[in-house]
Amino acid sequence: MNQLIAGISTVSLARWQFAITTVFHFLFVPLTIGLGLLVAILQTVAYKRKDDSYDRMARFFGKLFLINFAIGVVTGIVQEFQFGMDWSRYSVYVGNIFGAPLAIEGLLAFFMESTFLGVWIFGRGRVSPRVHLASIWLASLGTFLSAIFIIAANAWMQHPVGYKVITVHGQKQAIMTDFWAVITNSTFIDAYLHVVFGAILTASVFMLAIAAYHLRRGNSVSDFGKVARIAIVVTVLAGMGTIFLGDSQAKQMEQQQPMKMAAAEALYDTQNGASFSLLTVGDLSGNPIFQIRLPHLLSVLATNSWNGQVKGINQLQSEATAKYGKGSYVPILWVEYWTFRVMVGLGFLLLALGAYGLYLMRKGRLEKSKKFLRFASWMLLAPFLANATGWIFTEVGRQPWIVYGLLKTSNAVTVIAPGYVAASLIGFTAIYSFLAVLEIGLMIRVATKGPSALPATSTESPERALELVY
């Protein structure tokens, strides 16, 4: 009994720890992925056209990219090790399959990203401009590769394929039978593209917001005007990509994890031609005080047909108990309901921001529209919130499973006294809060100062020794 109580609280502490460290890590990662690409593009334009303006912007956003990159790296180390620390029974169960992408990520992606980023940071004026340009592209490629493996690993937890469960020394383990199936998992491909488009969208909105801030104040108008134009076009394209893939994921979710879809709408009973509620005032138990509903939208979203059937929570719960035994198979509804709406709502809002920007560009009024510029600077926070709610939605929605249909979260946690987990939970939360304050402070400082604070270009004295960058 004592151990049972200890087990329960260890699970919830470990889940909080994973949630906090992962959401925090993923505030920075999408910006790294997207901004690396955008900086590479700016630097390429600067290189091809020998254009000082693009070069300044590449260095300015490059500096912000590095501040952000550092925190992504150091929090990433925790990600790699906390599976073993807090989720050792999970690690044993899935190591055969889940470990491989993690190892390959290190070998293929992390080495590439860190090594070439080192060349990029320290190599200006030391390697040729062409090699310097190649190094930011290779670092960026590394970030995109890294997302492949981690999303493939996560997709396997959402929708296990290419495996077989066996018993080794009395412990169940999933072993891999088909590596190709694991890395071509349908869940993986849509999720990867959704995440990557989302990352590019994050960076383009970040760029646009900072450019808008400076344009509104009349700082380096010609430089930031150029950047804003690129950012607007990328925001529109990436916004459309993110939404399109998200829609495709919804249909997949109805097939693979119908409970998550039902929870996203708090739909209790199976329906044909189900409507979608934009928002609800009151509780989600079916008797709202106020609701705005769009007819048939949920059916279209989940099944692509006007009168398609969307399964309800009650039916899915009884199906699950028949299949897996007693217990609740319903995730936390209010979390699912609201994170889904925040994520989707912000996605459309950002697309609208891009579209409005595009309109102003065509009219030639981009720099003059104070209203747009103010709105754009405030939208800086939106993609970060959308990224976080998106992951909370998909991870909480899989509960009570850690590996869907195979292993429950409560059976995955390390058998350890809750005190250890509590100590590291407090420790990581304290460290991360401290880092967040520093990071945000530094970001704001560098971003608001603008390119005027950059050091002079280093091409002036080629004979000098290794530059003291750090």
């Binding site: 500096k63 180390i77 050792s88 690690s91 055969n96 190892a103 990520e105 350890i416």
Partner: protein, 356 residues
């Protein structure tokens, strides 16, 4: 049908992956060893902020790539020996938390310290670099000593100990060994990477550290030889490896004093490699030795993934490892110059660096 999994050896793949993970750890300690050393020496060798920047910039372009060796070792252990990964990382819970916290502050410090012109801002990050380097340098040695001496695991690799089972005298000597050896390695690295006064200071630090390091490592390896073999018959220790390691380490003092800087660096690198090879071979064929009873030892075969996973990973490793080694070596070549204070004269050198 799957009974072959339960037997001790299914193929050579476990041995191969034990060797590969061993190489990843060796690479990690060889490379991050010197940047831990530089971080530990930071408050002792630097007289002003410019000095500190010189020191930090010697590892600036490479520290992050060096740390990836650790991540890859962790990932490879997860994939190839899930039970090993799960047992170690949950068992060393608080110790690992400390290492992670230290590495977090250290990494932030490198990237953040010069992003703001402020004396106190920089001083705080410098402290983070020192503690973030010295603490993991110590704790990795503690951890590896624990591996060799045995950890409190029972049936089915169930962890039965607490944090304090991990900090025994033997393990602390192991920690001091790695701390002093990495610091010495940092000093020989700085001999190759700095110039003028700093190079001279690194030399003096090396001359001072070399005999101390030798004594600590001698005690540690002697203790290892006397205790572990008789306790567990845990595996073979080819005696020439630790002996060669000690002999090489004994030469470091002379090499530094007579300004054979390249050879001194090679010697500290070899000492690190022989030390960890000795410890890992001592572990073989176990992944973990139980301090409770040899019956509970976790063998590599018990901990290993299914051969299918190991085969897939072997193919991936075979294809991509050469590229990684080539481009990482290339960056060391690109940044092979010594780091100097702006305007510092380039001094003539007798022994040019043998670059790694």
């Amino acid at each position: 049908m799957f009974s072959l999994l339960a037997t001790t050896s299914t193929s050579g793949l476990e041995q191969l992956w034990f060797a590969l993970i061993g190489v990843l750890w060796l690479g990690y300690f060889f490379l991050e060893g010197f940047d831990f050393g530089v971080g530990t020496l930071l408050p002792f060798l630097a007289k002003d902020d410019l000095d500190r920047r010189v020191l930090i910039n010697t590892v600036g372009p490479v520290w992050d790539g060096n740390e990836v060796w650790l991540l890859t070792a962790g990932g490879a252990t997860f994939a190839a020996f899930p039970l090993w990964y799960a047992t170690v990382f949950s068992g060393f819970y608080l110790a690992l938390f400390l290492v992670l916290a230290a590495l977090i502050f250290r990494g932030m410090a490198f990237e953040f310290r010069s992003k703001k012109e402020s004396e106190s801002w920089r001083r705080w990050w410098d402290r983070a670099i020192f503690w973030g380097s010295a603490l993991p340098a110590l704790l990795w040695g503690v951890a590896f000593a624990d591996f060799v001496h045995g950890v409190p695991i029972g049936q089915n690799a169930t962890w039965t100990g607490t944090f304090f089972d991990l900090v025994k005298p033997y393990a602390l000597v192991g920690g001091l060994t790695t701390l002093s050896l990495f610091t010495l390695h940092g000093a020989t690295f700085l001999g190759l990477k700095t110039d003028g006064q700093m190079r001279e200071r690194a030399r003096r630090a090396g001359v001072l550290l070399a005999p101390i390091t030798f004594v600590i490592m001698f005690v540690f390896l002697g203790w290892t030889y006397l205790s572990t073999r008789s306790m567990h018959h845990a595996g073979l220790v080819p005696p020439f490896l630790p002996v060669v390691g000690l002999m090489v380490l004994a030469s470091v003092g002379w090499l530094i004093r007579d300004r054979f800087e390249g050879w001194a660096f090679v010697a500290t690198a070899l000492s690190i490699v022989t030390l960890f090879t000795t410890l890992l071979l001592n572990l073989y064929p176990n992944a973990l030795v139980s301090s409770i009873s040899p019956r509970f030892n976790l063998t590599l075969a018990d901990a290993a993934s299914h051969p299918y996973t190991l085969k897939v990973m072997s193919i991936v490793a075979l294809i991509f490892t050469p590229f990684v080694l080539v481009y990482q070596a290339w960056t060391y070549w690109v940044f092979r110059q010594r780091v100097r204070r702006p305007g510092e004269e380039i001094t003539a050198t007798i022994n040019e660096p043998v670059e790694a």
